[in-house]
Amino acid sequence: MKRRFDLAEVSRRELNQALHDASDGESFEVLNPRGAHAVACGITADLDVVVRGSVGYYCAGMHQRGGVLVEGNAGTGLAENIMSGLVHITGNATMSAGATGCGGMVVVGGNAGARCGISMKGVDIVVGGDVGHMSAFMAQAGNLVVCGDAAADLGDSIYEARIFVRGDVESLGADCVEKEMRPEHLETLRSLLAAAAPATDGVEASQFRRYGSARHLYNFTIDDVDSLEAAR
């Protein structure tokens, strides 16, 4: 049975405390978020949380386990520093969605704004629509999948994250280049697209191009890459 929290009646602090106190397997429904900040932050148990409406800044920040589904839009810093688990919104996200995420998956059904995946460190981000400028800025690890277009300076100063874009790329940032799509990349992409359904319905892995680091900006030479891969 779902536990219901109506944010028109109870405080967000009460909601978040209940989520922190909950046990694996519990389900929550959140009503009337009305753009409130920090909804469903810091979840550490395997919970199923549905938020009916749009949220403000830092929704599902530091997410660790279970799933948060937002039926609406999200403000700045959606799922910032997500560690694992799934955060899925059906609408649009504004700036810095999935910022600094270390693992898990963030799905944006609509468009994401500027700096989506900035400094991502292992999270997989799938965006059903477009992403704004400077997305995957200084991205270190993980995958950013964009089913629409990417605005200017994609992947600026990128490290080892992978970027897949289905539509047009306005421009690539410093040290970001297009790369060959090899079978292992297609395989990764297919599994990400499948995991992000229904935001990716009708989207085929073969429609994407891959982008990543030219590796000229950071200290290692290309000869160091194999040792880095082996260490991962």
């Binding site: 009305r34 753009g35 409130a36 900040h37 409406g53 749009s54 403000g56 800044y57 839009n73 403000g75 700045t76 609408g91 649009n92 504004t94 700036m95 468009n111 704004g113 500027a114 704004g132 400028h133 605005a151």
Partner: protein
């Protein structure tokens, strides 16, 4: 950090409650800027009748003789009414001349706005109390802008509060900071604009006023602003017949826009929009950097 909101009524539906809805939005932005607040609203006004809103904070003035003297200068009837520490002049005469005369002749007064449609109020203090004191909720009209300020680079004063309006019915609220405002202020002063504060945002308002006075449309003026204003900004702008939004090329100052058949609303955060009628079904998006968005009453 500051909070900005703008509401533009495309249809008649919500014009009777423009002020009430703007107050609801302003309240949600209180904690982005608890220092001070202000708002400007646009109504149909009367043809050829200009209103001049003046801040008379901390000064004792007998406004009757001032209005009489202004009548002599303008060669037109002038009426005046007080709203707490603001006064609103109304005249068939030249609004721009009236503004400059008041600046030059009433010591301690600040002309906040002039135009046939705009009135503008601002004060130090809790945004809710500011809205209440000047009765924002009762205002009707087509569009409104409001601002909550968290001062970072200058003192908490009424004159540092937004909105700013230096040209006829042209008004601006700003979240951000400009770095070339001193030089631009000198340039604009050489081209006929006059300023009353050291504030960077007043210069942005003056820049738009100058461009529009020179014959630009609001879109052309904002096109120029992208090249001539250096700094961080999200602007919401009101003009006599329209509403506009502009963000700088980096776009690190937040903005969200929502649109329905009846209204367009913009704010620093969605929660200011969430309580508007029909918000749940509105199209919601983040305005793109360096892209000019305009809505016109004529459209």
């Amino acid at each position: 950090m500051c909070g900005i909101v703008g509401l533009f009524c495309k249809t008649e539906t919500h014009r009777h409650e423009l002020g009430r809805l703007t107050a609801v939005m302003l309240r949600e932005m209180r904690d982005r800027g608890p220092d001070s607040a202000g708002f400007a609203s646009y109504d149909a006004g009367l043809p050829d009748r200009t209103r001049i809103t003046v801040l008379a904070e901390g000064i004792e003035v007998d406004w009757g003789p001032v209005a009489a003297a202004l009548e002599g200068v303008l060669g037109a009837e002038v009426t005046v009414r007080a709203v707490h520490d603001h006064v609103v002049f109304s005249t068939d005469g030249d609004g721009r001349a009236a503004r400059q005369w008041i600046i030059d002749n009433v010591a301690g007064a600040t002309v906040l706005s002039y135009g046939s449609q705009i009135e503008l109020y601002k004060a130090v203090g809790d945004p809710d109390l500011v809205a209440e004191r000047y009765d924002l909720a009762s205002r009707t009209g087509t569009h409104a802008l409001a601002h909550t300020r968290m001062a970072t680079e200058s003192a908490v004063t009424t004159n540092g509060s937004h909105p700013f309006a230096t040209g006829a019915d042209t008004c601006l609220v700003h979240n951000g900071s400009l770095s070339n405002h001193n030089r631009l202020r000198r340039f604009l002063e050489g081209h006929g604009e006059s300023f009353q504060t050291e504030n960077d945002s007043e210069v942005a308002a003056g820049y738009l006023a100058w461009r529009i006075r020179s014959g630009d449309t609001i879109s052309q003026a904002l096109e120029g602003a992208l090249d001539d204003l250096d700094g961080f900004y999200t602007f919401a702008i009101g003009v006599a017949d329209g509403f506009a939004i502009l963000r700088d090329r980096i776009a690190c100052k937040p903005a969200v826009v929502a649109e329905t058949d009846d209204w367009v609303a913009m704010s620093s955060e969605y929660r200011a929009i969430a309580r508007l009628p029909g918000a749940a079904d509105a199209e919601v998006w983040e305005p793109e950097p360096a892209r000019i968005y305009t809505w016109s009453l004529a459209a």
